[in-house]
Subunit: 221 residues, 2 copies
Amino acid sequence: MATGAIHDPAPTRGARRRAQTRARLIEAGRTLFARQGVDATAIAEITEQADVGFGSFYNHFSSKEEIVDVVVSESLEAQGRIVDEITAHLSDPAEVVAVAHRYFVMKSRSDPILGWLLVRLDVSHRVMTRALGERARRDLDRGIASGRFEVADADVAFLDTAGALLLVMRAVLDGDLGADADRRHAEGLLRILGLTGADAQAVAERPLPPVDSPRDATLEP
Amino acid sequence: MATGAIHDPAPTRGARRRAQTRARLIEAGRTLFARQGVDATAIAEITEQADVGFGSFYNHFSSKEEIVDVVVSESLEAQGRIVDEITAHLSDPAEVVAVAHRYFVMKSRSDPILGWLLVRLDVSHRVMTRALGERARRDLDRGIASGRFEVADADVAFLDTAGALLLVMRAVLDGDLGADADRRHAEGLLRILGLTGADAQAVAERPLPPVDSPRDATLEP
């Protein structure tokens, strides 16, 4: 937006060090939030784990909430890109949405650390409106534009499907749902989007596209 | 469950005082959480507002979270009873569920304090499985037993509808949805439960039963 800026100059040594410190803090935060939860993690533990001085934290983040937000946003962006890849070749908008939702339900089982971060609604509401929310909304709008989806109000339909996903993920994290939770949830969400029961079931039962990323190998059914 | 206990003896003076102090703390908590939010409320403020000594708090609650839980549970129990009353004469299970969901969406608009307490997922997940969750599950099971609802998995359908409601309430609290959000959400949830689009729309558009309680007069459409 700055009209005078053509491109960034090469970063100075100070700027590079600053970026490295920030990256170390984020990685330390991710590790600690994963291991012991957000609430139990003190800023001093993050700086200790990152091997930087306590005061440096505040050169990069104003609060623990801010680094939580960054960790979650970066994770979501990475997950969003994976889902984009595995759904790229699908021509049915209903299948795209079903696969995306099934991915996150199954991910809650295979990567509970990410799952727990996502279902903390105070955090997830903000991030939902960013990385994942934009993608989900794009997929929803495509289906509406093509006539595959039929909803009275796209905003409410978006929230209905996102909220349903969050609570199903939460129940998977609690160990309360069986192995077919992803398909049963996909069926329900496709009904919200106007598919008949039989159509929703058929799309929800389609085999998942392969997930190439090795770290997501646990998602294979 | 205590086999020897026929009935409770008349409470002693000490027990009555204890109950009064507890009630004062709960009322103070409700007022303060409503006015300034849970996070901004210190235990010392609750005891000050209740006009009891700071230490007394811990005779009744082990932590702030515990009193939050009690305040929310009592509010939910009261709301659950209101919804039971206004839906008691309805014969269509679909209308019962639609009215209950519409009530909570509209309530988020008319009573944002209650709304915010409910959508704090860390709290609401626990309470959802109690007062409101039991009622919602009962209504869902009735509709399934009568053949009005048709779902592949009742547990997942329950979570889909509850999660959808929470996120719609959250958006209403943020001022992001229009006045028909309750009807549009009811339509989506009835689709999850197997109603066709036209049927879901018709049920969601039915006039709400009158809400007698004066404090809920603001819910009238």
